[in-house]
């Protein structure tokens, strides 16, 4: 579990991504900084609208229309990504940095065979004759444990089970042997078996390839079982981060605590956490002080006025633990 002596593959500094909409500028990602080490799994946790998915899309420079990364730095193995051209980025996507989307069930094109879609990815990475590509596609399907890959390569997505489709999506994601894999957790396909199959798949992939994974979720329970380190996001900012053990044993931010208390009660549609009253503030109209203050059970006057600085408290034999709360460190309520 110790993440010492591992080199950093991805360094994100002060990343700010804004959405320019009719309602005003939405600061979807508002100064996010983190490192990702080789072989590490980093969890990003938060409610929907916390900016976790937008952070991921910013890394790939695949923002929705109106979205723009206004400042910051994304450094992949020593290379700055934010200054790269679109064609350079295309060569990075899928090869060095890859992603499994939120809904693997519908992320396969229904009118092409899974083989064609795998081969398309392979051809982009390295052009080769059809036969060769097909052979490699079959190999990849086999490596993600799709039964009978020689036959399955010619199947259409609708002919496959949900679990199998997930495996194909996983196969596409690792086909370019990426350094970093971003996995957006399935929130809409909430079938429990499918979710656990997904976790198994990720674990298999991780063991086989030693890649670094950024795992995006709203479920603290999944974080506990999957991740080495965790980062809690709220309204575009990181409110707390640290090793999974430290966060679970010694949470500092009231929001983190609320998240942990709400592990299984998730409304399927809104992804709202029932145990926390209220909803996140509208991102185009953020409060001046701490963004969680309006919902916070222990908020003080100061919280409404001033955003708390990020403080670090490193427990013995832990790498890091940071939180942005006026009460962090001496929190001891209830």
């Amino acid at each position: 579990m110790s993440s010492k002596d591992q080199d950093t593959v991805l360094a994100v500094k002060e990343l700010r991504t804004h959405l320019f909409t009719k309602m005003g500028v939405i600061k979807a990602v508002d100064g996010v900084t983190f490192d990702l080490k080789r072989g590490e799994t980093l969890g990003i946790v938060g409610e929907s609208g916390s900016g976790k998915s937008m952070t991921a899309m910013s890394l790939f420079r695949l923002l929705p229309s109106g979205g723009r990364t206004v400042s910051g730095s994304v450094n992949l193995e020593g290379e700055e990504l934010l200054t790269k051209s679109e064609s350079e980025m295309r060569r990075i996507r899928g090869r060095r940095m890859s992603m499994i989307l939120q809904d693997p069930q519908s992320s396969l094109d229904p009118v092409f065979t899974v083989g064609a879609q795998l081969m398309e990815a392979l051809r982009i990475q390295e052009p080769a004759p059809r036969k060769e590509l097909r052979k490699r596609a079959v190999d990849i399907l086999r490596s993600v444990n799709v039964a009978d890959p020689e036959r399955r390569v010619d199947s259409y997505p609708h002919q496959m089970s949900g679990g199998m489709k997930q495996r194909v999506v996983g196969g596409i994601a690792i086909s370019g042997q990426p350094t970093v894999l971003v996995a957006d957790e399935p929130t809409t396909a909430l079938d429990v078996t499918i979710q656990s199959q997904y976790m198994n798949l990720l674990n298999e992939i991780k063991e086989a390839t030693n890649l670094s994974i950024i795992f995006i979720t709203h479920d603290m329970g999944i974080v506990a079982s999957m991740c080495d380190r965790v980062m809690v996001m709220y309204s575009g900012r990181i409110v707390e981060s640290g090793s999974v053990r430290e966060i679970f044993n010694n949470p500092q931010h009231p929001y983190t605590k609320a998240l942990m208390a709400s592990v299984p009660t998730i409304d399927r549609k809104t992804e709202r956490l029932f145990s926390i009253e209220g909803t996140p503030p509208p991102l185009w109209d953020l409060p001046e002080g701490c963004r969680f203050a309006p919902r916070c059970p222990v908020a003080m006057d100061r919280c409404m006025e001033e955003y708390p600085p990020t403080v670090s408290f490193v427990a013995p034999d832990e790498v890091s633990h940071e939180a942005a709360c006026w009460l962090a460190g001496d929190i001891d309520h209830e």
């Binding site: 209220g278 309006p294 908020a299 006057d301 409404m304």
Partner: protein, 302 residues
């Protein structure tokens, strides 16, 4: 906690504030001005009170002034849009033509719509063989080419107001039946319908009280969007000589009257066409607006 309450109150206020001004006032304010005024001045007003707007009797023949050009092309204000081969005032004929178009549109949509809605309810509500039979009829009706049907009727019954209304109504009902049936199928199994059934409500009461209010918006939108289409259909039939019978002025007929003279006396055909274009375009824009306001989810269907 007092602070928190104040904050909540503020949020509640903020949410409520814009809602207070919404509703009818805002809906009316968002009415598309240009299409609405075109409809009013080119279609509705002339249809209601043509004698107020017209300069001449639309049937009055002025042989000495025949084929006189529009006022901006060497004509006089006496005949602002020129005259046709018989010296009839184009402008006045356009004004008087509006009534026929609107009348045909409203009548056919009322008849076709009523029949279609009724059959749609029957099919959707009672289901089973009635449903399959009626939907089969809908498919049949939709695959019969309207113009050929009209031609057949015209030969059989002779051209008259009654014939075009019959033909157009026959080609309209299926759209309503299919739409209403689909909506009713979706509503039939809702809780409140089941509850009404358990409470012993009659079929008629369930349809009237629980189902009709839910589909009335959809029907209104479809009807609005069809006014333009029907005006176009009627114009096409009149153009072919099987629409509104002579001597009643009709836009489609006026276009066909000036057809042979298009190279020299273009205004005879040109202005009636512009009238149709303006009216149908305005109706389309108006229908889109209505759909977006009443039921945005219909965007995919209509």
């Amino acid at each position: 906690m007092a602070d928190g309450d104040a904050h909540t109150a503020q949020i509640a206020l903020k949410i409520k504030a814009p809602r207070a001004t919404s509703g009818w006032v805002r809906t009316l304010r968002s009415l598309p001005i240009v299409p609405t005024s075109i409809l009013l001045f080119v279609l509705v007003l002339p249809a209601i009170a043509p004698q107020l707007l017209a300069l001449h009797d639309p049937l009055e023949v002025h042989v000495p002034e025949r084929l006189s050009p529009p006022v901006l092309f060497g004509g006089t204000w006496e005949y602002p849009l020129g005259t046709d081969q018989l010296g009839r005032d184009i402008y006045s004929r356009l004004v008087h033509g509006a009534r026929g178009s609107l009348l045909v549109a409203l009548t056919t949509i009322f008849i076709g719509g009523s029949v279609g809605v009724a059959l749609g309810f029957v099919a959707g509500y009672f289901g089973r063989w009635l449903d399959s039979f009626l939907m089969r009829m809908v498919d049949v009706s939709l695959s019969i080419p309207m113009i050929l049907l009209a031609l057949t009727f015209a030969v059989a019954l002779g051209p008259s107001f009654g014939t075009i209304i019959l033909v157009i109504a026959l080609s309209l009902w299926a759209h309503y039946a299919r739409l209403v049936r689909g909506e009713v199928l979706g509503l039939r199994d809702r809780d409140y319908v089941a509850r009404a059934k358990v409470a012993g409500a009659s079929h008629l009461r369930i349809i009237g009280r629980h189902l009709l209010p839910n589909v009335i918006n959809t029907i209104t939108i479809l009807a609005t969007l069809q006014v333009g289409q029907v005006i176009m259909m009627e114009a096409a039939l009149s153009f072919l000589g099987i629409g509104i019978p002579r001597p009643q002025p009709a836009w489609g007929r006026m276009i066909s009257d000036g057809r042979q003279l298009i190279a020299s006396e273009w205004w005879i055909s040109f202005f009636p066409g512009m009238a149709i274009l303006l009216v149908v375009m305005s109706l389309n824009l108006f229908g889109d607006w209505l759909r977006d306001h009443l039921d945005p989810k219909l965007r995919q269907i209509l």
